[in-house]
């Protein structure tokens, strides 16, 4: 499903494009521009980041509420199993999504001084979709974890 962009009124809200994505807004003027992320676009972006190296599943835990209360602000925490020593640590954590307008969400770079590979942020999710986090280790290996997230549509918005 394509992310959709619609005219906004007082307080432009991303929800509008989610409403469009829900397919119920037949009367709304809906436009979209540029490439939209798809599972394929996400895979291509992952390949760009990993340089085509194999990605194994495991070691990475992605903590996102399964049922999101509002896609405009979704808490997300990522942790990676790693001793975080100079010899063996996480160098980077990259997060990707399949249905926002772009596949990349955030890339975070850390090292042994972190002590622990545990980070969190808040993200926007345009639709119900899969989120993938990939950790790049100091030995060059890549590990991944994923989560399926259901985004609900808020009631009582500003626009009609």
């Amino acid at each position: 499903m394509k992310p959709l962009i619609q005219p906004s009124r007082i307080q432009p809200s991303r929800r509008r494009f989610m409403a469009g994505a829900a397919g119920a807004a037949a009367l709304q003027i809906v436009t979209s521009r540029g490439a939209s992320a798809t599972p394929e676009a996400m895979r291509a972006e992952i390949t760009r980041v990993t340089g085509g190296a194999p990605v194994r599943s495991g070691k990475v835990a992605l903590d996102i509420p399964q049922l999101v209360e509002n896609g405009n602000t979704v808490s997300m925490a990522v942790s990676v199993e790693s001793p975080m020593t100079p010899a063996d640590h996480v160098k980077a954590i990259h997060v990707f999504n399949e249905k926002n307008p772009q596949p990349q969400v955030i890339s975070m770079y850390l090292g042994p001084r972190a002590g622990r590979a545990a980070v969190s942020t808040r993200i926007k999710l345009a639709d119900t979709q899969k989120i993938i986090a990939i950790a790049q280790m100091s030995d060059g290996s890549f590990w991944s974890g994923s989560a399926d997230v259901i985004v609900t549509i808020a009631a009582c918005l500003e626009d009609l």
Partner: protein, 106 residues
């Protein structure tokens, strides 16, 4: 001027892993929305964040349009020595914000 809220423990034991939380005021306009007049609202986001501990980078992030308004980031570091932790956000339209927090390590 953007406000930022930083949460760093003022004191820590040497070797302790501390959590750092940062929240900064920013609209994070995605660049994918159409405004009132039918024209695209241009992208206006924070695209980079760097945290340095006594001048040495300990954490860095590249943000995209998919980061929520008023970006929130948390991460950890080992309390190594007393000194200053600095935070720098940069982004579209020349956005730049710098904050500093002191820490005493015993």
């Amino acid at each position: 001027m953007a406000r930022a809220l930083i949460n760093v423990p003022a004191k820590a034991a040497r070797g302790e892993i501390i959590e750092i939380k940062t929240l900064i005021q920013h609209p994070m306009e995605t660049g994918f929305r159409v405004g009132y007049n039918g024209a695209m609202i241009p992208r206006d986001i924070i695209s980079n964040f760097v945290c340095a501990y006594n001048g040495v980078e300990i954490f860095r992030a590249e943000l995209s349009s998919a980061i929520a308004s008023n970006p929130f980031l948390t991460f950890t570091t080992v309390a190594a020595e007393s000194g200053e932790i600095t935070f720098k956000w940069t982004g579209d339209n020349g956005f730049e914000a710098i904050e500093t927090a002191g820490i005493t390590v015993a």
